[in-house]
C-alpha cells in the first residue's frame, strides 16, 4: 500500500473510531477542579517529581541539595530567585522531617475544599482525608455517590475509580482492617 493511501486511511479511521462519551463525564471532571487552583513553582515541582519517583528520602535530599548548590553557583549573588531557593530549602527541611506529609497536606487541603463544594451537589459525600494511611495507595481519601447508584472513589495516590456499592464496602473493610491492625 502506498504511503499517501495509508495516511488517507488513517485520517478516515479517526472518524470511524469516534464514539459518544458518557453523559455527565464532563460534569464529574468539573467537580474535581480544586477550589484553589495553585500554580506551583518550577523548583517545587522538581521536589514533587522526586517525591513521585519514590526515591528514598536521603537520595531525594541529596539531589535537591546538589540542585540548590548548582543554582547558587549560577546565581553568584543573592537575588529574588535565590529567595525562591530559600523557600524551597525550607520545604526540603520540612520534607526531610515529615516525609510525604508536606505534599500530602497540600493535596488534602484541596480535596477538603472540593469536598465542601461537592457536599451540596452530590449525595453520600464522605471524606477520610487525614485518617487514611499515607503509605497505603489503596486507602480511600474520599468518595461520593453517582446518579446511577455507583460510587466515585479518590484513592490515596490520587487515582479515581467508579465502583459498585459492594466493591466500596470491600474497600472500606480493607481500610478498617488496616486501621485496626495499627
Amino acid at each position: 500500500m502506498r504511503d499517501d493511501r495509508l495516511r488517507n486511511l488513517l485520517g478516515k479511521l479517526a472518524d470511524f473510531t469516534t464514539e459518544p462519551v458518557r453523559d455527565g463525564l464532563d460534569e464529574d471532571i468539573r467537580h474535581q477542579i480544586p477550589y484553589r487552583l495553585v500554580r506551583h513553582s518550577v523548583t517545587w515541582n522538581t521536589f514533587r517529581i522526586i517525591i513521585d519517583l519514590r526515591l528514598s528520602r536521603s537520595v531525594a535530599a541529596a539531589v535537591i541539595i546538589i540542585s540548590i548548590s548548582v543554582w547558587a553557583t549560577f546565581l553568584g549573588a543573592w537575588s529574588t530567585s535565590a529567595d525562591q531557593v530559600l523557600q524551597d530549602s525550607k520545604l526540603l527541611i520540612q520534607y526531610g522531617l515529615s516525609g510525604k506529609n508536606v505534599g500530602r497536606a497540600e493535596v488534602l487541603a484541596s480535596l477538603e475544599d472540593f469536598c465542601k463544594q461537592l457536599a451540596w451537589r452530590a449525595k453520600g459525600v464522605t471524606y477520610y482525608g487525614r485518617s487514611a494511611d499515607p503509605d497505603d495507595s489503596y486507602a480511600i481519601l474520599m468518595h461520593w455517590r453517582l446518579p446511577d447508584g455507583k460510587y466515585r472513589v479518590i484513592f490515596n495516590d490520587l487515582t479515581t475509580k467508579t465502583v459498585s456499592p459492594e466493591v466500596l464496602v470491600t474497600l472500606q473493610s480493607y481500610m478498617l482492617g488496616k486501621h485496626l491492625e495499627q
Binding site: 488513517l10 471532571i29 468539573r30 477542579i33 513553582s41 467508579t162
Partner: protein, 206 residues
Amino acid sequence: MLKKPKSPEHEAESAHRIDKQPSIDTKDDELEDVQDWLAERLREGDRAAAARLVEMYYQPIFLYMRRLGHDRQESEDLTQESFLNAWYHIGQLKDGKALASWLYRIASNVSRLYWRRHKGTKIVSIEWIDAPEDRIVESGNSSEYEQLEALRQVVAQLPIKLKEVVVLHYMQHLTIAEAAKAVGIRQGTFKSRLSRALKTLRKQLP
C-alpha cells in the same frame, strides 16, 4: 460492524453540513485565541478557565485513551485522572500554543503508568461506533471498509510507542511539533517513530 451507504437524501444533507462549516484558517485562529486566553487564565488560577478546558478537551482525551487501547470504563477513569493531574501541574503550562501538548503529555503519562501497573491487561481495539456515513457514500468503495477494518486491527496491535505517535498525529490531529511535545521526544525522533510505524502498518496490511 460496518455501516451501509445511505440514500442520496443523506448525501445532500451531509454536503449541506460541510458548506456550513467555517474555513479552516478562521477555525485555527479562533482556537489559538481561545488557547492563549485559557493558558493565561489557568496560570492565574481561574476555575472558570479550568471548566472551559474540560469542556474543550474531555472528549478528545477520552477518545485518545480509547484509541490507545483502554476500554470504556478505564478510559473514563484515566480521563478524569489526567485532568486531576493537570490541576496539580498548572505550573508547567507555558503558553496557549503548548496547551494541547501539555494536556496530551499528562494523558500519555497517565496511560503509560496504567499499563505499567496493569501489565498483561488486554488491549481493547476501539469499536466502530457512529461512523460518519456520508463519507462512506462519498467513497462508494466497499473494499475501503475492509481496508479500514484491517487497519484498525493492525493499529491496535502496534507497540505502544508506535501507536502513540500514530494516534496523536493522524487521529487526534496534533501537528508533529505538538505531538512530539506530547510524547516528550524531539521532533526528529517523533518523525522517525512515525515512519517506523507506517512501515509496520504497510507490511501488515494486504
